[in-house]
């Protein structure tokens, strides 16, 4: 081999490298100077469990997307920090008509989107018209609208949303086809954030399309424009970090941190280690077994008030006729030692549930007494029903933890032992959460199963309406129960009551009926989810809806 031949690849590589160097130059800013305005210069780095799916919350259903969106956008109606109660957001006040079908919102004045355009009544109507007018793919992706409004423009007759009318610059009338308790609370959902109509038009925000087994989203979904305390600076997909910077023109209190970085770390134990190493300042949903250790290391573990319900669902449609007998369902409830379960298997602050919603919800009935743990009573109820020694196909999910259900298998083992103690033969079934469990629960394959719910907003309908309102298809198979139609009708009637106090009373009565006369399933417990930040962090207000806004957060060095 001559020298030339040996050297050729080296020369070629060098030339290629030089060429690359010539066309690659640093595009890095020499530093952001948003610190010039009010507020600190610091960065708050949060360890997120997953990547935000997109930056247009209208098409999202997951918490990680909403966590980021919540910092960029505001909603008409907001949630008071640290509670589940409504407070003014972009709307300063609101007033329903006598029939509850027309809602007049008075908007905050002088608010601008981060692209410099005005937020006003026209912008609000453009937002609602945009949400309403979806193509097939968009309609399938916009789950929260479908869930709360029922239908889109193509099926307007079945939609709760009727129309939007601007009255001047700062008044807007939203009309619905029927009075509902969802209004106006549902407008606090991050999905219904107010986005810049100009930016949405430019980025063709509604052009969702099917591509293979998924959807593609338009350019706007990567370049969101809102009115929030922060704005998107960069999403580095390769390095899995989302960087937001303070919106110095925000209408409310300016953010305390100049930068907000979301570092995506899917593994929970790695998030904990990153906190220990000081490379993140906080993360969500620390494993309850770590709470003490985290506190001992000086971190602040903020336990949120529980806004969820963990229940044992019963479904007679799976073929067990015994479940149609109220005495059998009551016997199952009496057989479970819930006090012990809560004390030994659930995080501190967890409570035994007396009904299918937490205390903070309007319509909660404080007079309902919990079903006592009573083995003898359970046995005698089973005997009266002629179901002694019955078989129960009882399932739990694997490969999942939920805020209301930190360790499904341990909870299952405890309850199974309780059932066997009253003579029930338990047939154990288990499947991965995304690997068939949810399908089987929806498909009425199990007599009994674990599931739960974290509330989206403060409304009784969001809990018991979701569970039992739809007679034809719900996971408790109430269609096969004699009380099913009455319960469904009563829930719909309560939802349509306009007067708040009257409605709350109706839900209280319904809660009592559900627990004493119907018992479609067994409400087990409420578990508080936690969020952890390092000792240097100030200003975090934990939200029962797990909907924290980070504008007030600052890292003290």
């Amino acid at each position: 081999m001559t020298f030339k031949r040996k050297a050729a690849p080296v020369v070629a590589l060098t030339v290629a490298a030089l060429a690359l160097t010539a066309c690659a130059s640093s595009s890095r800013d020499s530093g952001t100077d948003s610190s010039a305005a009010a507020g600190g210069t610091g960065t708050f780095t949060f360890g997120a469990a997953g990547a935000p799916k997109l930056f247009d919350p209208f098409y999202a259903t997951d918490g990680e997307t909403f966590r980021v969106s919540r910092q960029i956008f505001d909603t008409l109606v907001s949630i008071k920090d640290g509670t589940a109660d409504l407070e003014p957001g972009l709307a300063e006040k609101w007033e329903p008509s006598a029939d509850g079908k027309d809602w007049t919102f008075t908007l905050r004045k002088g608010v601008k989107f981060t692209d410099g355009t005005d937020f006003n009544a026209e912008a609000v109507c453009k937002n609602f018209e945009r949400m309403f007018d979806q193509n097939e793919a968009g309609a399938a992706a916009a789950e929260y609208w479908a869930d709360t409004m029922g239908a889109f423009k193509s099926d307007a007759a079945n939609s709760l949303y009727k129309g939007c009318k601007a009255e001047g610059d700062d008044k807007v009338v939203l009309s619905v086809t029927a009075a509902t308790s969802k209004f106006p609370a549902m407008l606090s959902l991050t999905s219904f954030s107010m986005q810049s109509p100009t930016a949405m038009d430019k980025g063709k925000a509604n052009e969702v399309a099917k591509a293979g087994d998924g959807f593609t989203y338009p350019a706007y979904s990567q370049a969101p424009v809102g009115t929030g305390a922060f704005k998107l600076e960069a999403y580095d997909e390769a390095n899995k970090t989302v960087t937001l910077v303070r919106n110095d023109d925000h209408w409310g209190d300016k953010a305390k941190s100049a930068k907000l970085v979301f570092k995506i770390i899917p593994d929970e134990s790695t998030r904990r280690q990153e906190l220990q190493a000081g490379s993140i300042d906080g993360y969500d949903l620390p494993n309850p077994v770590d709470w003490k250790g985290l506190k001992d290391e000086g971190n602040q573990v903020e336990v949120r008030p529980a806004f969820n319900i963990f229940y044992l669902g019963l479904n007679p449609k799976a073929g067990n006729e015994n479940l149609k007998n109220l005495k059998v369902r009551q016997a199952l409830y009496h057989a479970i030692n819930r006090e012990q379960l809560v004390a030994t298997q659930l995080p501190e602050g967890a409570e035994v549930a007396t009904q299918f919603m937490p205390k903070a919800v309007k319509g909660y009935n404080a007079d309902i007494k919990p079903y006592a743990y009573d083995v003898e009573k359970a046995k005698s109820l089973l005997a009266e029903a002629g179901a002694t020694g019955m078989t129960l196909k009882f399932a739990y999910p694997s490969e999942v933890t939920r805020p209301y259900m930190p360790d499904p298998q341990k909870l299952y083992d405890a309850i199974k032992t309780d059932f066997e103690a009253v003579g029930i033969k338990v047939e154990t079934e288990t499947k991965p959460w995304n690997g068939g469990y949810l399908d089987n629960v929806s498909g009425s394959k199990y007599d009994a199963y674990f599931l739960g719910w974290t509330g989206d907003y403060n409304s009784a309908d969001n809990f018991i309406g979701t569970f039992f309102g739809n007679l034809k298809s719900n996971r408790f198979g109430t269609e096969a129960q004699d009380f099913g139609p009455a319960l469904s009708d009563a829930l719909k009637a309560a939802d349509a009551i306009v007067d708040e106090d009257e409605r709350a009373k109706a839900y209280e009565d319904l809660n009592k009926k559900i627990m004493e006369d119907y018992l479609p399933g067994l409400a087990i417990s409420h578990s508080p989810p936690a969020i952890v930040v390092s000792k240097n962090v100030t200003g975090l207000v934990a939200s029962p809806l797990t909907a924290e806004r980070f504008a007030s957060v600052e890292v003290k060095k």
């Binding site: 099917k210 087994d213 998924g214 580095d236």
Partner: protein
Amino acid sequence: MPKEVCGPVLRYIIRRLLQMSGVIVVLSLLLFLWLRSLPGGTVSAILGERATPESRARLEKALGLDEPIYLQYFRFVGRALRGEFGASTGVLPGRDAFDIFLTRFPATIELSFLAILIAVVVAIPLGYVAARSRGGWLDNASVVASLIGVAVPVFFLAFLLKYFFAIKWGLLPVSGRQESLGCTRVTGFFVLDGLLTREFDCSWSALRHLILPAFALASIPFAVVFRITRAAVLDVLDEDYVRTAEAKGLTKQVIRGRHVLRNAMLPVVTTIGLQVGALLAGAVLTEKVFAFGGIGEALAIAFQMRDYSVLQVLILMAATVFVVVNLLVDISYAVIDPRVRTR
């Protein structure tokens, strides 16, 4: 290469490429059917507790998952031939699955390349020296070390390294690929990008993030390459031509370089090629432990979320890479061993 060599080698390469495409087509069919026969599915993964029969039906119809499976497969093949692999539903919904592969593949290459480099740089000289001092303390010690390398699962080693070097002593970062420095992206290889754009702090940060996962991952090829090198050198040392060379009075350097190492390298190169498969498997685990944003981590998320488009692309591309690397190994034979060329 002379003309008389080019012909057979070219024919060989073409034949191998044809075989390769056959393998990929069969694999795509099996993969497609296997993914769809898994319990659960995209719709459950997206909707979770929120799923109602109506919302499931709406989403299934919009995604075309309610069509017969053969129709879905034909559509998939049709799109794949046009280079369209569909949009992700779980890893990064809305993004083209192939783009996700392109964004994440450099991370896995960077990691695997460094791991192979560490393994080769340490294992080949060590294997050679161990063979030369057969039975000595160095030989025994390195054989034991390589046994540990084979026996300890890679994720366990990753945990150990992370615990001591990152958490306990705080010498290296816990996870990720780079600090949030606002670095410019050119090729997606973070170390290289920093050099190209002269953002040297970016390169340095990327390198620091690479060290622990690369050492953990290197344990797989290290142990194997060491043992094969040692065995091959021992074999070659006993060959007649080495004795002949010594008798001819050639210098030690020439004997070592031209006769011993060069001949011993044949099995070693094959082994390195075969290790690529094991390395990709190891990368899945290592990336998970270090939240290193490569295809291994994406694969884990895609599986959990039943992200069909992404799973299809990642698995098919991993298979293609494996087959191509093995083809390259076979070609490199021709370069190292002249006998292969003339055969």
